[in-house]
Symmetry: C2
Subunit: 327 residues, 2 copies
């Protein structure tokens, strides 16, 4: 691999001039510039990112931390992040954490080592203290997940309100026995959506009890299906199910299909997220649309501001109730 020295030697100039051609072309005479550029072409020279970053401590890379790419919820967010990052001359590295600290640390090391200029985190399981500590030194933005105590910047939606609206919608449809398939409450969104659900039930003076709420093992189709199965065994005569994630709802719907329970006639079901697949189920799924693409864009914009040292405000985006066939 040729270096800047090789170019300089071959072009009969100093390395400084070559570097100028690269970074500030107007500072070198046209004749010299063309000569240098010709040599660069000729020997297929590309500046070493390593050398450059070492000198400038800037990499124009962002790290995007997500639990797993298997959750389709992230797809459109990543789309938005990528698009906006590229527009602004940044590239992104997609990093799966599997919610494991060892994995997370690997990526934080990249940050500490200036292999990345900032982090967009969508992993809610990150160690909070560590994160706050890092956020003092490096630009970090939370996307979709965020922390209550405001010590970290975030962009998200109002999960509580969305869940409240969905539950209220189901109540208005005449349902009075509505189960909630929730995610692990270690996720803030799980806690928020549960609160919204309860608020609606209380407003409608429904006589519910804790058994209406079921926590899925994880956020996967299987877990959703299994949750539905155990709900059906109980014989509690629910007429509607609200799952806090489309993935769970789709799993649940599958179980209803298997058992031959007609949706929405015998049982209504609603999800959350509006992932692509939610429109492919039979029947299609009523859900909450999160502005995922926009959330990704916003996260990057916030992050770039942070790299410039500017103050950024947290952002809460609008969501939307999408009524389809399953309710």
């Amino acid at each position: 691999m040729p270096t800047i020295q090789d170019v300089a030697r071959k072009a009969g100039v100093s390395v400084a001039t070559v570097s100028r051609v690269l970074n500030n072309p107007s500072a070198v005479a046209e004749k010299t510039r063309l000569q240098v550029q010709r040599v660069m072409e000729e020997i297929d020279y590309a500046p070493s990112i390593l050398g450059r970053n070492l000198r400038t401590s800037e990499s124009r890379m962002f790290i995007v931390l997500l639990p797993m790419i298997s959750n389709p919820f992230y797809v459109n967010i990543v789309e938005g992040i990528e698009e906006t990052a590229i527009e602004n001359g940044y590239n992104i590295l997609l990093c799966q954490t599997h919610s494991k600290p060892e994995r997370q640390n690997v990526y934080f090391e990249l940050l500490r080592n200036r292999l990345a200029d900032g982090v967009i985190s969508m992993d809610p399981t990150l160690n909070k203290e560590k994160l706050i500590h890092l956020a003092k030194q490096f630009p970090i933005v939370h996307c979709s997940e965020y922390d209550k105590d405001k010590s970290l910047s975030y962009v998200t939606i109002d999960s509580e309100l969305a869940a409240y609206q969905m539950t209220r919608y189901l109540l208005k449809q005449g349902h009075t026995r509505i189960a909630l398939i929730n995610a692990d409450e270690k996720f803030l969104y799980a806690r928020e959506r549960k609160r919204g659900y309860l608020r609606a039930l209380e407003e409608y003076k429904i006589d519910y009890d804790e058994s209406w709420i079921l926590t899925a093992r994880d956020v996967s189709f299987d877990a959703g299906q299994q949750s539905m199965r155990s709900l059906l065994q109980r014989n509690q005569k629910f007429t509607a199910i609200f799952a806090v994630s489309d993935v769970l709802a789709i799993g649940a719907l599958k179980e209803l299909n298997i058992k031959g329970i007609r949706v929405p006639e015998e049982m209504a079901i609603a999800g959350f997220d509006k992932i692509d697949f939610s429109n492919m189920t039979y029947p299609s799924l009523t859900t909450i649309s999160q502005p995922m693409y926009k959330m990704g864009c916003t996260a990057v914009e916030m992050l770039i501001k942070k790299t410039r040292g500017e103050k950024v405000d947290d952002v809460i985006l609008e969501h939307e109730l999408i009524i389809r066939e399953s309710t």
Copy 2:
């Protein structure tokens, strides 16, 4: 951020000794080692990856190139890649190319600059010459997609055979009019699967014509649905559909559901890949199981061998016909 110099100064030793503590601890006296380690702890020192890589030209990172993470087909492959890479002390960077050369080049630059030690490519649209050129200098392995002319290493399945078996299975079920929803033939797998499909039809002496084969706009649910729609408009009375990808099949199935066509009674449908979703549809989808996880593991193993300069053989893994409710 503290440097190795800071540690050396504070511990009263030379930078060489600090470096030895890091890379070859047995070469330094226990007393000194402990002292140095204490200082490292104290000032929260972490070696600069940049500095290290610049010196050693090794990064222990692999780049994984895929068109888009939205295609669930990649999920399990990535799982296998990641697992195996980590086991061997490597980390991976997931890179979406969107099949665009500009994007691909960004990541190849990382490779050229030693920010990564090798590439696993799952993007079939890469410029072949460029790739062959790069493969002379850097370890590159193709995963799932591969090139006919054997100039690049690959791990894949026998798509032609799988498609042949699926088609033959449908024929044995008594279907005689089987449409193929294909992907763009720029993908090798699309060409291969078409060949397998045709071989079966010919073996069964089916009087088919070109109109039985439809090329989807891209590989997405929508494209599958649209393909089905246009097939139905034609009034050609197919009794079975074979889609070369589950994503397409699921879109097609959706359209059948919408039109109230019973599956499999009035129309059978089969997919390819066995993605997680394929078991969540109603009815569940007959498909070809690719050993995706294993494919990912194998790709990494091959790549590691290559980084060591060893010769590697191409690998073709076994697939399996998964018969479910849709046929």
